[in-house]
């Protein structure tokens, strides 16, 4: 093991290019099968029924109060990344601090910050929502150099309704509904993605939410690591190796 928990490569089978090609081509068939399966799951996902959003959620953003419908910014599809950040509950055991969002969510944000411009041109608006007050979001965002829209859901029901915030009692009793099952939420904030659609009449529908490993593939770095010789190489300790991008050298 090295300092970052990385394993060491040794004694891997080494063959001629011809033998490599035979193994690689056989493996390609399995990869194609996986690509087809992923396409099929995406297709099934789009066939899910939608539920109407009837509650009037209001968020605090860079230009004041914004309703959920306004977060669409004129597009018909809205993707919300639920970033874990609530200064009131920050402690040494939370992944966020009083002035910085969760390091793992920050890792995800580094991966989507640059592609939002492309999603915008496919009728998708991607925003980040956290419970922290907008001033805290703005300060941390400036530090990280991100340009996406980040709004505060504060004490509204939004985070609880979309199952990414839990009460102190739920955390203490280690029992809450997360990722569609009762489980120990571990923390008062958890990661997730929720998707909404706004029809031409202005009605908003909740189409999809995903949590935990359901958002793995949305982090491009994991897609890259999956192709590297050592793979994710996390030694069973998950995101232990991840830091905020300006904290690796500390």
């Amino acid at each position: 093991m090295t300092h970052d928990g990385a394993s060491v490569l040794t004694n891997h089978p080494v063959v001629s290019h011809e033998e490599w090609l035979a193994a690689r081509t056989a493996f390609l068939a399995r990869e194609k099968e996986f690509t087809r399966l992923r396409d099929q799951v995406s297709e099934e996902r789009r066939r899910l029924p939608w539920e109407a959003v009837t509650k009037a959620y209001v968020f605090e953003g860079p230009s004041g109060k914004r309703t959920l419908a306004e977060l669409f910014e004129g597009r018909s599809q809205l993707v919300v990344y639920h970033a874990m950040f609530d200064p009131r509950t920050a402690s040494p055991s939370t992944s966020w601090t009083k002035d910085a969002a969760c390091h793992a969510c920050s890792f995800w944000a580094d991966n989507f910050n640059g592609i939002i411009v492309h999603l915008n041109h496919r009728d998708v608006t991607l925003v980040v929502v956290s419970r922290a007050p907008h001033a805290a979001l703005a300060a941390y965002q400036k530090r990280m150099g991100w340009t996406f829209t980040w709004v505060s859901s504060g004490d509204t029901d939004f985070n609880r309704d979309y199952q990414v915030s839990f009460t102190a009692e739920e955390v203490a009793k280690k029992r809450a509904y997360y990722n569609y099952t009762m489980q120990d939420p571990s923390l008062s904030e958890r990661e997730g993605v929720s998707v909404f659609y706004k029809d031409p009449a202005g009605r908003v529908f909740h189409t999809y939410s995903a949590y935990a490993r359901g958002i793995d593939l949305l982090n491009a770095t994991y897609n890259y690591l999956d192709l590297a010789p050592k793979g994710r190489d996390e030694g069973g300790r998950g995101l232990d190796w991840v830091r905020r991008h300006d904290e690796y050298d500390r």
Partner: protein
Amino acid sequence: MTKHMTGTRKQWLAARRELLEAEKELTRRGDELAQRRQELPWVRIDKEYRFETDEGSASLADLFRGRSQLLVYHFMFGPDYTAGCPSCSAIADGFNGSVVHLANHDVTLAAVSRAPIAKLRAFKRRMGWSFPWASSLGSDFNYDFQAAYTEEQQRSGVADYNFRPQGFGPSLEAGKEGPVGELAAMVGTDSATYTREAPGMSAFALEDGVVYHTYSAYARGLDGLWGMYQWLDRAPKGRNETGIWWRRHDEYDKG
């Protein structure tokens, strides 16, 4: 009014939980595939490839920058292109943010293209990227890893891409009409010049000073690396595309 099926919270949840099982199965299949990928044999590389980088001339081993794993994104930017390929540019908009994390997990992610280093440097500055980008101009590197083709290969009409023979014919004859012609125009070349480069990624390991080729992927094998697609796959309209809709990130407003 929407024509999509809507339901109560309870109905929505029942359908969502059913999909969750399919998603979990996909995650497990992905993990299993990644495990098998790591078990693929490696090939020792004895050829001396030379690259030009921001720090000067470099060998393939130098591109690892002290780490034991190297991922090369074969960025389509031929010597005659006036700018990098728009598709590769959209992919780079995503991985530009991944590089710092990979670098702290024993992986160097670098782009390699055949255009001269000065061209790569100027385009990188224009796009605001910070990842390492090396020029393989004059080396066999891109050709050996199925990321570039000679005029002779083009004339023969067929060459290996994605581990099988592929025809050049249709894309060249498509002229200015089809997607190839559109992309060629966006890099300031004709279709033949544009298709002398191809997209892909290759992975290498460095052990005791010896470089091994561990893996390469092409075509839809790069799907997962193109961050925007993973997000579009969760959107109600999906990928929602009929042709080349993407542009370089500073060119969307130019129509």
